[in-house]
Subunit: 343 residues, 2 copies
Amino acid sequence: MPSKRIAVLSPVAWRTPPRQYGAWETVASNITEGLVARGWDVTLFATANSRTRARLHAVVERGYEEDSSIDPKVSEYLHISEAFEHAGEFDLIHSHYDFMALTYTRLVNTPVLTTIHGFSSPRIMPVYEKYRNGYFVSISDSDRAPGLNYLATVYNGINLKLYPLRKSAGDDLIFLGRIHPDKGVHLAIEVARRSKMPLVIAGIIQDETYFREQVTPHLDRQIRFIGPVDVKGKNQLFANARALLHLNTIPERFGLVLAEANAAGVPVVAMDLGSCREVIQDGKTGFLVGSVEEAVRALDRIGEIDRRACRQRVEQCFSVETMVAAYERVYNTIFELQAQKVA
Amino acid sequence: MPSKRIAVLSPVAWRTPPRQYGAWETVASNITEGLVARGWDVTLFATANSRTRARLHAVVERGYEEDSSIDPKVSEYLHISEAFEHAGEFDLIHSHYDFMALTYTRLVNTPVLTTIHGFSSPRIMPVYEKYRNGYFVSISDSDRAPGLNYLATVYNGINLKLYPLRKSAGDDLIFLGRIHPDKGVHLAIEVARRSKMPLVIAGIIQDETYFREQVTPHLDRQIRFIGPVDVKGKNQLFANARALLHLNTIPERFGLVLAEANAAGVPVVAMDLGSCREVIQDGKTGFLVGSVEEAVRALDRIGEIDRRACRQRVEQCFSVETMVAAYERVYNTIFELQAQKVA
């Protein structure tokens, strides 16, 4: 029922969509643009320099991660409350703003759907527990907290046009993600060394100490670090990639980059932790492994993976269209539940 | 009109009242207990371990400054929103929670009065500007931002029973406050050296580098540091005090400790910056100075100050009773303004 008015509340850490890193803003953007394409009346609450075909409503100029003069706390309080002050203009607020936005939900009559992009710390759980009867979507079946009123799991979707299929494999192993121990950059380096294959590492440095102590000492002609990359940069990586290494050390929440690599036809060797087995089909679109040894062995068999099958899987399960259609079903469920409440 | 129901929203950095440091919680407590004493129906929103004769409403167990396992951001969002979710039960919410609480005010019908205990950074000003038409109280005439809808300046009041008059002077110079360059601990040390008088420094260390570099090297038999003190500790300091040195380097917002010292009959030598001239009467309850030299000279004349006059000034201007009576006038102004809005 596209006559309904939807507010999408994106984070203001980065622009929406972000130039480079910024997974939550990427997903919020994809949902917004997908809804617009399907005829919904959408208002995007995001930074003023955001780009969208929806109506943009902004009270914060730039992302606080992009301008150190901004106080993140001030930005967040101003931005989130602004959306709720306009709640009466919408039939649904779709929040991507974590626990903070929940604390405004009981002060408005408009229903609020929260996509939980990840639980950053056990210390935030009391907020989710208090508001557990709200409407929630998880981004994978594995990334769920007990007791919350989940209406669905909706996998993140990517814009397939941005990542064209590369029909033939390149030589490089690639790592794409935050430079942080959670993402297992050190394990990717170990796998590359033992496989004697070149590795290109791309991403923002989130943990400086980890980068200095566990990445920098290994950089040479075989192991290279190129910093963060945008969509163009990702495609250059995919064009030369033999496989993406994603040896996360904690349960993955979703793993957007796995879908992006698969979309380009690049097989993924992923640690079997968290949502990876929901995104990667073992032996079909990559390999799920439990150790560095298994990752090295998986690379011996990487030629068995059909690159077209990788893309087809993303087209079926992880496209913006699939995601937006799933959210439409969730929205309609909420509208029905709300109608029942009123009746 | 004590039939009205008041919610006092205290910070949750510390318990209300705090054990030692915690000026905002101290003032919120004094207002709460003063209102209760005058027959008002008061609910105090504060940490669960707070002490009050009002109704205590708490969702946060302990102050985040007292328990490092607590995420301050989570505490603040949970605590502030809880008060606003109960707004319908009150005729007025009296907020001591800075800019954060303002972002909830337009989502409730209950009027909100904000006592601004200080502007911590220019970066928070956009929030005050957005909500400038709210109801505000400044704690001194000097600590005002242009354009805000101030209803009054209400000086902080102290519980005079806690600080009995010491009729005779002691030998010590005392410094009481946060160890931070803003508070001019280094200037107090310089004045003590040049006056050849003992100095006792008490307070929490807020700036470790400053303490290490500009305080620690000077500590000896003459200049002593004793850490933070509670009310009992303050009284011991006052009992042995010749004068309180308050050589702030930025404009003081109010200066609760100036009133406490005066209450005990201790004259104050204060830098003439910000609110100090509103609290200290030059030549009557202490001296206002512009430099270390002037402070040294002021100490030569400190015997001219009548200790009883110091206490009388606090009784008249800075008692809990005076403060609460002033807030009652502000509350009644708000009730009248609200009635006009409805009519």
